[in-house]
């Protein structure tokens, strides 16, 4: 925990950036881009998530240990998602095995 106070201006700017990105993600979803709609929406979501973690959760100015733990959490989440999707996306790949 850091005792240095973050100015309201920084939070206001981060909030405005998040609002702008929300409007962008809605606008992009109106376009017909095929599977790029999903990629664009998730890319914008990752950018927004990074803004929240860096500015609102103040990982930006945190110690290396906090950053390591934040990264470890994300890595664990990635492992969970990879195993979830490796099951979900590969269903029905083997012909004749209906229960797979």
């Amino acid at each position: 925990m850091n005792h240095q106070v973050v100015s309201v201006k920084v939070y206001a700017l981060a909030f405005c950036a998040l609002l702008a990105l929300t409007i962008t993600t809605v606008a992009v979803s109106k376009l017909e881009l095929g599977e790029f709609n999903f990629i664009a929406a998730m890319t914008i979501a990752v950018i927004k998530g990074t803004l929240v973690v860096m500015f609102f959760m103040d990982v930006r100015r945190a110690t290396s240990m906090t950053k390591l733990f934040a990264g470890a959490g994300l890595f664990w989440l990635a492992i969970l998602l990879v195993f979830l999707l490796s099951d979900y996306l590969s269903r029905g790949w083997l012909p004749g095995l209906r229960w797979l």
Binding site: T22, T25, S29, N37, A41, M42, K48, G49, F56, M57
Partner: protein, 64 residues
């Protein structure tokens, strides 16, 4: 997913209410503000979940 998120939101609203009451009673100072940090982190975690849920639930596959 929306239900789980709603439960997190309700818990967060309760925590924030407690935080407002504590702040009004001037329980916090520069020397001690741990609950503000902790509840803030929790609330932003719920925020991040919504950042991903919103496009997944309302934008993907809802074109037209």
């Amino acid at each position: 997913m929306t239900g789980m998120h709603a439960v997190h939101m309700i818990v967060g609203a309760g925590l924030l209410t407690a935080l407002i009451v504590m702040a009004a009673r001037t329980r916090f100072s520069a020397a001690w503000y741990t609950p503000v940090e902790m509840i803030g982190l929790y609330w932003h975690f719920v925020d991040i979940v919504w950042i991903f849920l919103f496009p997944l639930l309302y934008l993907i596959g809802h074109t037209r």
